[in-house]
């Protein structure tokens, strides 16, 4: 797996952690440790998304920072195999 997909995999993992924590926090809104955990991962996600946009393409349009082309629309759609060369299996990549 090349560097781009390894970065996308990290983003997927961090975002999934946040999604799962968000639902937990919705029913446990006073759990300070979970909140700390959530903001820790939120910081990592922003950093990784900026890095991905800078090196490859923006995963959300707010990170689009191109000079001469609107890369938000020129990059692959998420249902293309080209955007999914990520192995989520244990020990993979």
């Amino acid at each position: 797996m090349n560097e781009m997909f390894s970065l996308m995999k990290d983003i997927s993992i961090v975002d999934f952690t946040m999604t799962d924590l968000r639902l937990y926090l919705d029913t446990h809104p006073y759990d300070a440790r979970a909140m700390e955990y959530y903001s820790h991962y939120a910081g990592i996600k922003r950093k990784l998304e900026k890095e991905f946009a800078m090196k490859y393409y923006p995963l959300s349009s707010e990170f689009s920072q191109c000079e001469n082309e609107w890369r938000w629309v020129l990059s692959p759609m998420p249902w293309e195999n080209e955007a999914n060369q990520i192995c989520m299996c244990k020990g993979g990549n």
Partner: protein, 203 residues
């Protein structure tokens, strides 16, 4: 309000098209326990909820279901690309093909179109949460059934992910029901709708 992220919640990378698999998996797009019904159920129900923890949870799970809807559509799309006419006929896909080619359209495996009757929004948080817990179990059963029919690991990986999320959502809805019941006025012994009957229940 929503924002879009240009990636799937869990990657889908299917190398071998399979019309037969697409024909059953489309049910989790627009079938009776599919992701379209799931997202619309929670995103509609949340307005009638008097407790913020519960309306917040319905918003966040409803939003996650939209990501699942996109994953299921991706699975069907990748399974039906580059099919030959022979494969379409042999896979029992001609009935779908004649109306939609290989475009994505919400229907059940048996061809029944998506219909808002696949979900309820009853305007009563207790009633709605019991429906939501049942809905998560029904979707989990459907994914179990799909996994018994399919052996391609490229298809099974995202289906197993989706199945696991149904279990987590069931757990969270159970907690939301507990929060709701804890919030009921002790005089509301028969659990009348706490979002509508305030005047009579809270006396």
């Amino acid at each position: 309000m929503w924002n879009y992220e240009k990636r799937l919640q869990f990657p889908v990378n299917i190398k071998t098209p399979n019309a037969q698999a697409a024909k059953v998996i489309i049910s989790q797009y627009g079938g009776p326990d599919g992701e379209m019904g799931a997202s619309m159920r929670y995103l509609s129900q949340r307005f009638a909820t008097p407790y913020r923890e519960v309306s917040g949870l319905l918003t966040d799970i409803g939003t996650e279901e939209l990501a699942h809807l996109e994953m299921v559509a991706t699975i069907v799309h990748q399974l039906t690309r580059n099919l030959s006419m022979e494969e379409i006929k042999a896979g029992g896909f001609a009935d779908y093909y004649v109306d939609h080619t290989v475009g994505i359209w919400p229907q059940a495996a048996g061809g029944v179109p998506f219909n808002a009757c696949e979900f309820q929004s009853k305007g009563d948080v207790i009633t709605d949460l019991f429906e939501d817990m049942a809905a998560e179990q029904k979707a989990r059963t459907t994914y179990d059934n799909i996994l018994r029919l399919i052996d391609d690991p490229d298809i099974c990986a995202p289906i197993k992910f989706l199945r696991a999320r149904e279990i987590v959502h069931f757990q969270r809805f159970g907690e939301a029901l507990r929060i709701t019941q804890d919030n009921l006025n002790s005089k509301n012994f028969y659990a009348f709708n706490p979002g509508f009957d305030n005047a009579s229940c809270n006396k």
